[in-house]
Symmetry: C2
């Protein structure tokens, strides 16, 4: 079943303690789409400027990612982010952030997108996330991501959004900020009381926690020695999760749990190289192989 995503499309520049890449393909909706494309057709909505390399779009299309909803603003510039990872590879500093065309992004979804039953609102302003929801009346599963900037500066819009979505995916620090509670178990439950039926707290190298109506569980990250660039890990997590759900066509508790495992593994591949470079080298069989290892790791 196809999956619609609305979010940022970016050109990223990334510095790690040992390497650097400039203007590589990035953005929350891009990582999400690529990860989800291992499972299902993805319809990507976002905005870029005319500096956006056509090759990038072609590469996404070759993965059966529908880019009809990718607006190209003539004379505009693509959203750019430059960041630097600290030696622990978990903390990072934003060195430059140019919203460019993303600042005035107004999602207008093509007809095929509006029929989607599965909708993901990648990191972005609650205002445009809400506009996307309004255009997708057929959506039976709406999941959003958010971040500290919107928690601090667009709280009212975010609160409204939380009452419209079925699921929320956010980082541990964001969950603490949103709820004012440093205990993640309580924080996750508090976020659920704000509206979403389920909440996923992403803890980076420490895995993820799931909060549902009668369920609370944790999933460790897949341990990898090769952390090259953590950018996009959280978005790939969401892409693996939503992609699997859309492939299965349901979001029952069992399916949701397996979807978190797929999200965990997509994130583990993403961090093993810059941009989408590692994801571009793997296929579904590689993913299933890692899934077997992961399941065996967790059984005793």
């Amino acid at each position: 079943m196809p999956l619609c995503v609305v979010g940022s499309v970016a050109l990223d520049s990334v510095e790690t303690p040992t390497q650097q890449r400039d203007n590589v393909l990035g953005g929350s909706a891009v990582y999400f789409s690529y990860a989800a494309s291992f499972f299902t057709t993805v319809r990507l909505a976002g905005v870029v400027g005319d500096d956006w390399p056509a090759d990038n779009t072609a590469m996404l299309q070759a993965r059966s990612i529908d880019t009809d909803g990718l607006q190209v603003v003539q004379g505009g510039k693509t959203f750019r982010w430059r960041g630097k990872y600290l030696p622990n590879m978990n903390d990072r500093e934003t060195l430059e952030l140019h919203l460019n065309v993303l600042a005035t992004f107004d999602p207008v979804l093509p007809e095929a997108y509006r029929q989607c039953k599965f909708l993901f609102l990648a990191n972005g302003s609650p205002t445009y996330q809400m506009k996307a929801i309004d255009q997708c009346p057929a959506a039976s599963l709406i999941v959003a991501d958010t971040m500290d900037h919107y928690i601090r500066n667009e709280r009212e819009g975010l609160d409204k959004l939380l009452r419209r979505v079925h699921g929320l995916v956010l980082n541990d620090s964001e969950a603490k900020l949103l709820t004012g509670d440093d205990n993640l178990v309580r924080a996750g439950e508090a976020v659920r009381r704000m509206g979403p039926r389920f909440v996923v707290i992403k803890k980076g190298e420490h895995g993820a926690m799931f909060f549902g109506e009668d369920e609370l569980y944790v999933m460790p990250a897949y341990p990898t020695a090769r952390v090259v660039d953590p950018t996009g890990a959280g978005d790939s997590f969401a892409g693996g999760m939503m992609g699997y759900l859309a492939e299965q066509g349901n979001f029952e508790p069992k399916t949701l749990k397996r979807s978190l495992a797929y999200g965990t593994l997509m994130a583990s591949f993403t961090v093993e190289d810059f941009s989408l470079d590692r994801l571009r080298t793997i296929n579904r069989a590689d993913l299933e192989k890692r899934m077997e290892e992961y399941k065996s790791m967790l059984s005793f």
Copy 2:
């Protein structure tokens, strides 16, 4: 099969954001012994001053913990620690530390202790840890814990110790300090190259990682909303782990994996109240009930 432990016995004073306790029963060997006593007979070696309440000893003995190896120094004072937890309940400051009789501790193990096949060296100076090993020629499984202080100040002794133990248990920050590597997967493997056949890295609220000859796995912490006092969680983890191994009488890969799960759960109970207060309210059936929940949480 009985289990021998050598380590600190303390009177702790603990401040959390909402509560405070003074001079409560603590110390690495005490938490370890109590947690292990759910599984097997424990022989505790340590040292206290004559300010040590006899009630504490009686309480441990009532758990079938052998205290023949607990030296009482007349005219001496028991090791005391005062610490304060930050609001996140994961980071803490040491406000006061008085080694007192622990400063000159020279373990002399009673005969029954010397016959033990399972030996745990709780956090302490590598010098006295090594002395304990020398007195236990029958030990077929020797596992040690260590901490930043000894990594920084007694590195030579620690390096020697690492070549004498079969297993090492340490915190994530300590593994990074010991190896100079911020990636825990690489750090764990690097510690193994220093001597131990297996290494367990404890990550507090994020669980634990295991490194064996052909095995690497992670186990998440059991999620609890009720974190009252994290003191002793790591020692209880080790106690649950070693206690289960001693009960089973082997340390094959399957047994080791289950032992880590028991360690995880003992730690989860310990943090739910001050000192040993939570552990004193549970029995083996409570532990097995949480084990069922934990296993179900990790299966999908």
